[in-house]
Subunit: 371 residues, 2 copies
């Protein structure tokens, strides 16, 4: 079960608000999806995710395939029960990880062979296998296997990766239709590097296959932010208005505001979780570094007025103390705040779109950062 409906459009930009329906519940777009690579959003519990407002999380096919492995997750009839999360899950296909984490990734007719980054064991991921794994994980939104390339890359490299990505996307869709999991959603991933004509070609080829939604991959791989936005600005409007548009692995709150303005609906990023573990906390006025000595006796919460569990109960001085002492609770309390910040920042943006006040939201957002 999967559907998407646009319920409001900004008259001042391409920003839009929508609802995705899945068999594990609804997702209100624009949405931020916390990253739970290995079946856990690092340091926090499913209940804390729900309390922070999370409606959908990410898992990673490459990581979960390597450990614990499908045989184990199968014993639990999927990732939801295994990790005690009953809202929607989207799984990245593993394309990005095979080419960034694994060793000796090699593309063959069948798929991609590689060595595990954990123990060096050899594996083959094919489009069909990636679909099998995602079916075993029981995820609500599956992603096609794609070839994600580094930045910078030559036009020829990008064109080759694009062709492979399209071929794999066709095979993923075919595998989905051939299996009993044809009812799960499957998204295609637009590649094409930083070349607009290749982006267009990739998008058009994928639209010909007809997916449940479309992702823009291969961004936030090291290119300047202007180039990232330029690619998104070019690519997003090409994608069908009636389908969710997902910008993968992006980004800062500033990036997200701009991408929503372009009509993007879905986002995932490790920034709120990873930065939390590095002592960086997101606030309306920008990022604060909790280890800063200016907070040593600061009785205020990280963000005054914030309603997250961390801000309601703890001070900057306490969080700084925990962080400097490397107490495990530090990572968790920082993460709870950052996840809450991201989700509620996008929730407010959605409300502004529904009220057709997106531009004043955007202005206020930048204004607060400067103050």
């Amino acid at each position: 079960m999967f559907s998407f409906e646009v319920i409001a459009k900004s008259t001042e930009s391409r920003a839009r608000a929508g609802v995705i329906q899945t068999s594990h519940g609804d997702v209100e777009t624009p949405i931020f999806m916390p990253v739970g690579t290995l079946g856990s959003v690092k340091s926090i519990s499913p209940e804390e995710l729900v309390e922070a407002g999370a409606q959908i999380i990410l898992g990673n096919t490459y990581h979960l395939y390597l450990r614990p492995g499908c045989d184990i997750i199968n014993r639990f009839a999927g990732l939801h029960r295994f990790m005690h999360w009953n809202k929607p899950i989207l799984t990245d296909s593993g394309g990005f990880q095979v080419f960034s984490l694994a060793k000796l990734a090699k593309i063959s007719d069948e798929g991609v062979t590689f060595q595990s980054h954990i123990d060096g064991s050899k594996h083959l991921l094919s489009p069909e296998k990636v679909m099998d794994i995602q079916a075993c994980l029981g995820t609500d939104i599956m992603m096609c296997l794609d070839q994600c390339i580094q930045y910078p890359a030559t036009r020829e490299q990008c064109r080759t990766a694009l062709k492979i990505t399209t071929r794999w996307a066709q095979r993923c869709q075919q595998a989905r239709l051939d299996s009993q999991n044809g009812s799960n959603a499957l998204f295609g991933i637009v590649q094409g590097g930083m070349f607009t004509d290749l982006r267009r070609q990739s998008a058009e080829e994928l639209m010909g296959i007809d997916f449940s939604g479309y992702a823009v991959g291969g961004l936030s791989v090291g290119e300047p932010v202007e180039v990232m936005l330029e690619m998104a600005e070019f690519t997003v409007p090409i994608l069908p208005q009636t389908k969710p548009r997902y910008i993968m692995g992006v980004g800062t709150p500033e990036n997200i505001v701009e991408l929503v303005a372009l009509g993007a609906d879905m986002f995932d990023c490790v920034l709120p979780t990873r930065n939390a573990r590095n002592g960086q906390m997101f606030t309306r006025r920008g990022v604060i570094n909790i280890s800063n000595s200016r907070y040593r006796d600061d009785t205020d919460p990280p963000e005054p007025g914030c309603r997250c569990y961390t801000c309601r109960n703890y001070s900057r001085a306490y969080l700084r103390h925990l962080y400097l002492a490397r107490e495990l609770l530090a990572y968790r309390l920082n993460t709870i705040h950052n996840i809450y910040y991201y989700i509620n920042f996008i929730k407010s943006m959605r409300a502004a779109i529904v009220a057709d006040e997106f531009e004043s939201f955007r202005k206020e957002f930048y204004h607060e950062r400067k103050s």
Copy 2:
């Protein structure tokens, strides 16, 4: 405010059940106190402690004095608000840590000078200063500064440490009476190494000072468990029946059953928290090592039937996966279970004492371990 009442005594052993009243609430004895050295029971939140049944926790004077320091905790009017915990807190005096963790500990007339284990900075802890710090922390039960010595130690070393401990205890009590914090509870700490006559001398000298409760220190410092129990068996009955008796830093569930049988009321130990972080989980049938490959696809919770958050929602296979992947959630879920196990194990023991069925509880306890 502090009082202690024995509400039931076993007719089959010296085991007893009681209630300690403090201004932050009641504590039902026998009690296990989770260790929150630096103002956090490692990896878990105050709410999780309460859910697991915790009624009182430990903080450490030495550690909190070094960081974050009293000036900062003072800004929060004490440790309770700083760490978001509003039930009773007992603080260890730091005697044990000065002699085990700090460098170049040197005893003078005034107190003990040492170098911080964190940055090598020089400090002096005197009985008066330790009382000042504990007053600043606002703890419900303060402990006297004592000289804890290593095992083995000569009779002469033990006698010297005992004398210093008594002298410091007198000065702690005097400081308490001189200050406006005279209403807080203060416990004396019996030393004397593994020599029964010195244990008796220490206990008698401390009883002469008249404390709110008495602790047995210097146990679980490397001696064989039989020696530890022998010392406790000798010392506990000497201590006043009308006051709480606290065995410091002990121990395994087996140790605790035996010590309760001797009439001990209070316990603290890092075992449930530290072992959780090493993948060891306590169950009625003994300790299980969650990383064991036998659990790789085990859909059962760590302890079937256990009502803790972890056992209600997660499987051994998932916990093993998290632990092997070093996911931060692993340490937390294991800790929640172990704390729940310890607290509820003692809670059941208390119920058995109240029902005067302590011996059958003890038999059943050992019987389950063997099965």
